[in-house]
Amino acid sequence: MKLLGIMLPLLVSLTLLSGCGEKEKFIVYGSPENEKEVETILKEEDYVDKTTVIQYDNSMLVATQIKPWHKWKKTKLEKKLQKKFDEKYPNKEVFVSADYKIFYEANKIKREQVEDNKLKDKIKKLKKLAKEET
């Protein structure tokens, strides 16, 4: 009985939360060029859950989240996606990351509508952060 008292509110709140959690799965910030193309590339890969793309100058930051069961192979899928983008856009500088930090910061950039001159510094910092290992 005591167990039920703990579990019931938890289950109810979980179901409520999952019901309200429906959001856009694909977001682009910056220049909207080849937006549709990038979206179709990402739709082809069934392991990609949500993606935020930031375009500026001649480079692109692809911050993605991978679906739960595929997360075991996160680094491999990240590399695969990076390779795919490199082949599709050989004259563009693309950076793919599946890390939650990068995804969170990319969404923050979109939310706060960061200006162009500040954007470059922020992205540079994020790229450096994503490469850190310890």
Binding site: I6, D99, Y100, I102, Y104, L129, E132, E133
Partner: protein, 151 residues
């Protein structure tokens, strides 16, 4: 009374341990500890410059800090009584083993008491962790050199 008879009697009298209930308790409490750990990890990712790959170290130290406070106030042993392995398997259980040993031997002095007995219980965890990590790394290194797998 013969030895076998006594054993028979003992088995009849001993109550059956509630395995399922114990497993459920361990699962819930262990899961709760891991959920707190995930929350701490997310806290470090969102408010500090840690990524998913680097947030592990500060998270582990924070969880051990929580275990230290709970052990110091004598609350962790109560959790351990309820949850058993659910509270011993996460890293907080390791922290509890280190800190309770330190508290127990405090009266013998800082160097020979606390320093000498700090890893009395948890020392085997450290030793076997390091040794097994060494051998796993060695096996992987050999496999990579032969060309079976890549880093």
């Amino acid at each position: 009374m013969e030895k076998e008879q006594y054993q028979q009697l003992e088995q009849n009298v001993t109550p059956k341990p509630p395995y399922f209930k114990n497993v459920a308790k361990a699962f819930l409490v262990g899961g709760l500890i891991c959920t707190i750990g995930q929350a701490v990890s997310l806290f470090y990712i969102i408010f500090f410059d840690f990524t998913e790959a680097t947030a592990g170290n500060p998270t582990v130290s924070t969880m051990i800090f929580f275990a230290m406070i709970l052990t110091g106030f004598g609350l962790y042993k109560k959790i351990g009584q309820i949850a058993g392995a659910g509270s011993a398997v996460p890293v907080t259980g390791f922290g509890n083993a280190v800190i309770s040993a330190a508290i127990e031997h405090r009266s013998e002095g800082l160097v020979l008491g606390v320093g000498g007995n700090l890893f009395k219980l948890a020392g085997s965890v450290v030793l076997f962790g390091v040794v097994s990590a060494f051998f796993i790394a060695l096996i992987k290194f050999i496999l990579v050199s032969i060309g079976v797998v890549s880093w």
